[in-house]
């Protein structure tokens, strides 16, 4: 099954996960059109 990026939409949740999982955050500012 193909991988799909599972985007977070909350900075607080992303940083909380980053601390818990020992990862960095990729923050993507995009144009939803």
């Amino acid at each position: 099954m193909a991988s799909k990026i599972e985007w977070e939409t909350s900075m607080d949740k992303a940083l909380s996960r980053a601390k818990a999982e020992g990862k960095h955050v990729l923050l993507d500012f995009f144009n939803p059109g």
Binding site: T9, L15, K23, H24, L26, L27, D28, F29, N31
Partner: protein, 151 residues
């Protein structure tokens, strides 16, 4: 990015395995202002405290995005003086994506990280030699120019 790069299976796997992906609109309040975003796509690598370490603006093809993200992680390690981690991350980038546009900067910063770790200047000279041989016209080769004097 949505048409080409993000659907790429290698990109999706790399991001899901190595990063927490966070996506917000270009006019998000307060993040767009906090990060002074002026154009899309703007991609920023943050550490877990929310501190920025690397940024790109504009489209990146799959191979370039993975290299850029590895560079961002390595720069975060470097900025936080986690030099062992930085050396490993930059080394992995050089090994796995030698043709990436991010690779010359990784060569430069790997040499600096090695110097910071040991205070032995030879890695600086080695970075200059590698950059000169493989990326003679790159800006990072020019920045390493003083290291040619190290014996």
């Amino acid at each position: 990015m949505d048409a080409v790069t993000y659907p790429d299976e290698g990109v999706a796997k790399f991001i899901n395995d190595n990063l927490i992906p966070l996506r917000v609109a270009f006019d998000h309040k307060p993040l767009a202002s906090d990060f002074k975003v002026k154009w899309t796509p703007t991609l920023i690598t943050l550490d877990s405290d929310g501190v920025e370490h690397h940024r790109t603006v504009g489209f990146l093809a799959p191979e370039e995005l993975i290299g850029s993200l590895m560079l961002g992680i390595g720069k975060s390690n470097f900025d936080r003086e986690e030099f062992d981690k930085a050396i490993a991350t930059f080394g992995s980038l050089l090994e796995r994506h030698p043709k990436s546009d991010s690779t010359p900067e990784a060569i430069f910063l790997r040499g600096v990280s090695m110097y910071k770790n040991t205070h032995d200047p030879k890695p600086l000279r080695a970075s200059y030699d590698k950059l000169t041989a493989e990326y003679p016209d790159n800006e990072w080769t020019k920045r390493a120019y003083p290291y040619r004097l190290i014996n």
